[in-house]
Subunit: 324 residues, 2 copies
């Protein structure tokens, strides 16, 4: 059987070649205007109505009208534009499978947040700028500002593939790792904190607060003024999930008041922050422009991940990274 | 039996208090001019002739004249000023034990070089400066510049406590770790490369060259023009040992020619580098001013380490971190 695959993902020639090879005998359909970012708004495309499957960031409104669709493979780890009860009900009702590309970004995202943790522990932003003389006051201050990770406590919010990989990476550091979940499922491998325990955990336990929450209706401004109000002294906040999960005014206040020692963000709202945004003026706020998932030959990893799932689809096997 | 302990290490009041408590019943002797850096030249002090033991960075010439000395506990991991055949022969002949503080710096040093590796892998110096727009050319370039550590090869030169700890830290990353040693001892736990194999390893195998060589007569300019001449494309050089082990002109040439992708140095020669030193002009040379061993309450860790050994000395037990 031959499938029609709608692909609205811009990709370099080598990745395209790989996709064409891997889907021989099937029909690839490309939109007039390919998108180049997971945050861009997808356009409407008449061909889409014919598609059996979609790979990329297809428009939810177009999906609702596409009568042949059996499977959507989202080219990101976040599935914001699909993650709402209406869409989930639509997919369930029409028996459309939705998978994401979590497996593609797991390693890079975990390394990214870990690089933040170590850069903060070793105070790299200040140290790389300094030419302090050995034995000087500045030098002693810098040396004393370093903290080994050993024995500190890490709280991970949004405990999926990335969080699990991070737990593996942190294992040699003898840290206490805790996961936040609405309900413990029992497969976490680390102690779980539930919503009723969260205020205490933030106020007295967590040295490192790692936010990997996805963007959905429930997570919007999850980190609000109330949650930033009481924090363990010296706590550090990291966000590699989505910018919308943080009330940035409250974050800025927590930094400015010294309740947070530092914030390391790969995501903000909007991206990038406008030039005069108050967070940019905070000396202990460090921002990378949504790069956590990036890695060499990313498009090829994405296509490879899709093709693995495509083969499973063709053979009637269960799909990996299925989210609906 | 009461010992006279010469301490030429400047320390904050809490660490001094700890030292006094831990050596009650014994006599502490302090020099007129305490030193504040392991690289400072120690002064002569007449009291030293009476000392049974020394803690800090005592002057080798004074040691030669001190008739009562039984044990020297060096307050650093490096033992440059003592590490020569004459001094070793003197210690052996007079049965003076020499221990260092390697155990104090192991964790911080391993974390420091690991923070370098991850900062490079995630391209933090460029990424933290960028406000690239999602989907822009700059953004794609930055995303593509990231490399996950997985599967890459690390060569560690100077395979002691720090190297062993680093091997533990790298274990979750599925990297290939190799140690360089003049002779394999069999206790490395990783494959060992010997001098005859080093040129091939540098030219074709090592993605990450981690230099933790101590400073001694044999290691001076170990990394010379010949060794920097052929490197695996994309190789990265790290130095947290001693600056003297690197020919900095050759390092600069390797960076400038692109044979090295980047260099991350915690040590240089001299420290700090003078203002117009060519290495400071290399965009891919990142330098911290000898901070790798630094951590919170470092002086207390140092004193605690000394006291552990002091108790062993008093009880006639074998000393830890013994180097002569």
């Amino acid at each position: 059987m031959s499938f029609k695959i709608f692909v609205d993902l811009a990709m370099p020639p080598d990745a395209l070649e790989m996709l064409q090879q891997g889907t021989k005998g099937h029909q690839l359909m490309f939109p007039q205007k390919p998108i180049s970012s997971v945050l861009a708004e997808p356009g409407h495309d008449p061909q889409f109505a014919e598609a059996d499957m979609a790979f990329g960031q297809p428009d939810p409104a177009a999906i609702a009208r596409a009568g042949h669709l059996k499977w959507i493979h989202v080219s990101s780890s976040g599935i914001t534009r699909y993650d709402n009860p209406q869409f989930r009900a639509l997919m369930a009702g029409r028996k459309i499978a939705v998978t994401n590309s979590a497996g593609v970004y797991q390693e890079a995202c975990a390394e990214h947040v870990f690089s933040f943790m170590l850069a903060q522990a070793r105070n790299l932003p200040a140290s790389l700028k300094s030419r302090a003389v050995n034995g000087s006051k500045e030098w002693h201050t810098l040396r004393g500002s370093n903290r080994t990770l050993r024995g500190q406590t890490v709280l991970i919010l949004g405990f999926g593939d990335i969080g699990k990989r991070l737990v593996e990476m942190l294992r040699p550091f003898d840290m206490n790792v805790i996961a936040y979940r609405r309900k413990a499922r029992g497969d976490e491998g680390v102690p779980v904190v539930t919503p009723d325990q969260l205020p205490h955990t933030l106020a007295s336990v967590a040295d490192h607060i790692i936010n990997i929450l996805p963007d959905n209706l429930e997570s919007r401004h999850f980190f609000n003024a109330a949650r930033f109000a009481r924090l363990k002294p010296g706590a550090i906040f990291y966000n590699i999930g989505r910018g919308t999960t943080v009330d940035q005014d409250a974050l800025r206040d927590a930094l400015h008041a010294g309740r947070l020692k530092a914030a390391w963000l790969d995501v903000t709202e909007p991206e990038p922050l406008p030039e005069h945004h108050p967070l940019l003026a905070e000396p202990n706020c460090f921002i990378t422009p949504h790069l956590a998932g990036g890695h060499l030959d990313e498009a090829k990893t994405l296509v490879g991940h899709f093709l693995k799932n495509f083969e499973r689809f063709v053979n009637g096997q269960p799909l990996i990274d299925r989210v609906m």
